[in-house]
Structures are given as structure tokens and as C-alpha cells.
Amino acid sequence: MSEFAAQLAGVGKDYRFFSLQDVSLVIPVGQIMGFIGPNGAGKSTTIRILMGLVHQDRGEVRLLGRQMPAAQALAKQDVGFASEDMRLYDAATLDWHMRFVQSIYASWDSAYAQTLIKRFDLRPEQRMKSFSRGQRVKATLLLVLARRPKLLVLDEPTTGLDPVARHEVIRELSDVMLDDHRSVLFSSHNTQDVEQISDQITFIDRGRIIDCRDKEAFLERWRRIRMELPADLALPVLPGVVDVKQSGRLAVATTNAFDARLPNAYEAAGIRVHAVENMTLEEIFVTNVMCSREEVNA
């Protein structure tokens, strides 16, 4: 088997008002890839291309080692896909859905399905139309998880969930990853969810991948430096600084390549460094997107 659960190389797709441009992405086996982008950034399009639901105009896609979209029926045998816009049949019960999915997947784990029913507090005899939004999401995840897929592809699964339901879903996904051979692609615009469970993170904006690396690398490399400048001194331009905000003599520099020498360099220039702060993933994401847009617009 391939060492990558999924690979996209130079993938493009053109619509009238939107283009996915040169998307390259790999999800190693046993990793959780957080896929973050604003609304309309291209997350769902990328995921649909990965699943063979939309055919790429350019580039190559492999899912569990199989060429997509040509071999999608075989590849999807080992992939669990759930998306925010996916609905189960209102007129049928959860039990009917479970029997339907079980009849298709030999890997269906009935005992695990029963565990999930209890953990998610669902009633199998209930029709889907009487389920709340959170229950529908959990029911969909149950159908996906109980088939024990090698790769989980989740497109905004926690959107619209209350904090408790979100916590339950995230906890379940964390448990799934106790199996080293399973991989997850988890798309969201909620950076908190992604930060909790992801090993790797990819940012996408306006149809382009703008950054992709280990979560720890993101958190290590991005820092905010708060400084006070002497009255007659302009803030020097230092390598690795991607954003500067200045208000009077107070300045905040943001770097995506933090090195302990950077504050020293400011100090050496006569600038007083007040603090070097860690950034949350959300702050990193927003800064990254804004810097990327400025580069494109420049």
C-alpha cells in the first residue's frame, strides 16, 4: 500500500467565478490533516475532487493509492466520507440506515456501532426527520466510523453543532486515531476543532494552498513581538517578519520564522522588546490569509 492515504498533485478546477489552482497535498498514513480555509476558499471543491464527485480539469489525484476519479468505486470502499451538506433519508430510521450501510461494507463493526449509539445517545428506531442537527451529524459519523475506514474525509463535520456535541465528535475522532493505520482529512473554518486533533495543517484561500506543515511547526515558527520604538527610529525590516502594525511608538511584528535572534536584533537596533507571544492557530491562520492576499494583490 502507498505510504500516503491521499495525494493531490497540481490539481486545478475552473468554474465561472472560482478556480482551484495548482493544489498539491499529501496525507501520510496515520496522520490527521486539518484543512482550514475561509468560506468559499475551495475546501469542499478540493474534497469533492479527492472523492471523485467532481472531476479535476488538471492534475493527478490518488486516493489510497488508486487513481481518481477513474477508480473511485474501489477507492471509496475504504474511505468514510461525511460532509456538512450531507443528509440521511428523513423517512427512514437510523436502524434502517445502519442495516443499509452494513449490507454494503463487509468491514462493518456491529459492536462498535452499538458503542457509538450509546456514546452519542442516539435511538436507532427514530426516523431521521425527528433528529436534531447535532443528532443528524452524529448519526452520519456513526455510519462512517462503524465501517472502520482506512481514511476518513470529513468536510466541516462540526459546523452548526453546539459545544457539547462538538466535543463528543472531536473526542471520537481522537479515539479513531489510536489506530496508527487510519488517516483523517478534516476540513473546517473552526480552527479550535482542527487545532485539537490535527497532526498536520493546510491553509487554503481563494483556491490556492497558502501554507502546509506540521501543527507544531506552525505553533513554533509563528510569534508576535510587541515593541516600543524610540521617538526618532523607524522599525527596521527584518527577514521572517510578515506583518507589522504600528501605532505611535508601539509596534507589533508578526513572524512566521521565529528565531531567538530576532528579538535580539530589534534590541540591538535600540528598540525595546516588551513581549514575545505565542499565537493561536486562529491568529496564525488569519495572519497567513491576510499576508497571502496582500502578496497576491501587490
Binding site: 469533492r48 472523492m51 471523485g52 464527485l53 467532481v54 472531476h55 473511485q72 468505486a73 474501489l74 477507492a75 471509496k76 470502499q77 468514510g80 466520507f81 461525511a82 460532509s83 451538506d85 450531507m86 443528509r87 440521511l88 433519508y89 428523513d90 423517512a91 427512514a92 434502517w96 443499509f100 449490507s103 454494503i104 452520519t140
Partner: protein
């Protein structure tokens, strides 16, 4: 093609749409039973059997294709290990099988009643008329699957429904059809055979075009 999965998808549609199909079957049976009474009741039974066929031609594509897309069940179906071709085969197979089964039963019941009433001359026209909803059904199914638009499905449905009235009037004025209506035995003249041939051609073309356009599609959700 994954035959096992196609069968599962067909069984799924049969389960999910069993109630409207049973109601239509019941409506068809009731219409035929009413026809046996003869006179005005017989006429009403004939008309209601035709209306049941029209319902059938609308309900199947709207429920199994348009509604599935509108209710966002399609991503769930397409997340299963199937190809778009499997999906198309399953949808066409279920729709055509369900339609043909009920259409055959209702049309045979109506035409059999005419035959028993010594009005066999109506049978060629009856078959041509009964094929109208079949043509309409295939066009609606093709539009629902190919164009994927609820609006265009409704436009197709409305156009087909309006065209029934015109077809009735036109048919009753064609001498080759009108002149044989009151006979005791069916007479298959060139006019009726041509009409039925055109209808069958449209049915086959609509289904063939459905597979053709579906195979060229690049977006399925």
C-alpha cells in the same frame, strides 16, 4: 459496474418509495374496477386510470431523483463505493422497472376491460394514449438526471401535462384512428403503428441520451 451495489440502491429506492407506489397501484386498481360498471362510471374509470398513469410518470422522477438531490441525500449515496455510472444505472433501472410494472398492469387492465366490453377497436388508440405518460415519464427522468434542476424538471412536467390535452384532440381528428374506434376488433393501420413507433423511439432516445450525457458529466454534486 458493481452489480451488488446497484441492486442495493434499487432495493433502497423501492423501500423508500413503497408508499406512493402502493397508493398508485391502489388508485389504478380502483379505476379499473370502476370501469367495469360501464356507462358514466366506466368513462370516469377510464379517465382516472389515465390520471393515475400521469401521477406515476411525475412521482417517480420527482421523488427518486429531484427530491433526493434537493434533500441533499445525494452526497450520502455518492459517498458509497459506487461510480456515477452505477448511480445512473440504478436510478434508471429502478424508475423504469417500477413504472413499467405499474404501467403494464394498469394499461392491461384498462384495455382488457375494453376488450371484454366488445370495444376492441379502442385498443390501438388506447395503447397509443397509454404510451403518452410513458414518453412523459422518460423525458422527465432524463431531465431530472441530466440537468439536475428542480425548475427544469417542473417545466418538463408542466409541458408534458399540457401536451396531453392537445394530443387527445389531435388524435381524435386523425381519420386513420377515429374511423376504427367503434369497431369490435382492434385494427392496426399505418397511422396507429407510426404513432406508436414514434412514441417508442422517443422513449428509447430519452433513456439512451440519459446514459450518454451522464457518462460525460464531470460534476455529480
Amino acid at each position: 459496474m458493481n452489480a451488488m451495489l446497484v441492486r442495493r440502491l434499487i432495493a433502497k429506492d423501492l423501500y423508500l418509495h413503497r408508499v406512493p407506489l402502493l397508493l398508485i397501484a391502489g388508485g389504478g386498481g380502483l379505476s379499473i374496477a370502476t370501469m367495469y360498471a360501464g356507462g358514466i362510471a366506466g368513462l370516469l374509470g377510464t379517465i382516472s386510470a389515465f390520471i393515475v398513469l400521469i401521477f406515476l410518470s411525475i412521482v417517480l422522477p420527482m421523488q427518486t431523483v429531484v427530491s433526493e438531490r434537493k434533500e441533499r441525500n445525494l452526497p450520502f449515496v455518492m459517498s458509497l463505493p459506487i461510480s456515477p455510472a452505477d448511480y445512473t444505472v440504478a436510478k434508471v433501472a429502478f424508475n423504469v422497472s417500477a413504472f413499467v410494472a405499474l404501467w403494464l398492469a394498469i394499461a392491461a387492465g384498462v384495455l382488457g376491460t375494453f376488450s371484454l366490453a366488445n370495444s376492441g377497436g379502442v385498443i390501438p388508440l388506447g395503447i397509443a394514449v397509454a404510451l403518452f405518460p410513458f414518453v412523459s415519464f422518460c423525458l422527465q427522468l432524463a431531465v431530472a438526471l441530466i440537468i439536475e434542476s428542480e425548475l427544469w424538471s417542473i417545466v418538463t412536467m408542466a409541458t408534458c401535462n399540457v401536451s396531453y390535452s392537445f394530443a387527445w384532440v389531435l388524435l381524435s381528428r386523425i381519420p386513420g384512428i377515429r374511423d376504427e374506434l367503434r369497431g369490435a376488433v382492434p385494427i392496426w393501420n399505418q397511422t396507429v403503428v407510426s404513432l406508436v413507433s414514434i412514441e417508442v423511439t422517443v422513449i428509447v432516445a430519452a433513456l439512451a441520451l440519459t446514459f450518454f450525457f451522464q457518462s460525460r458529466k464531470t460534476n455529480f454534486i
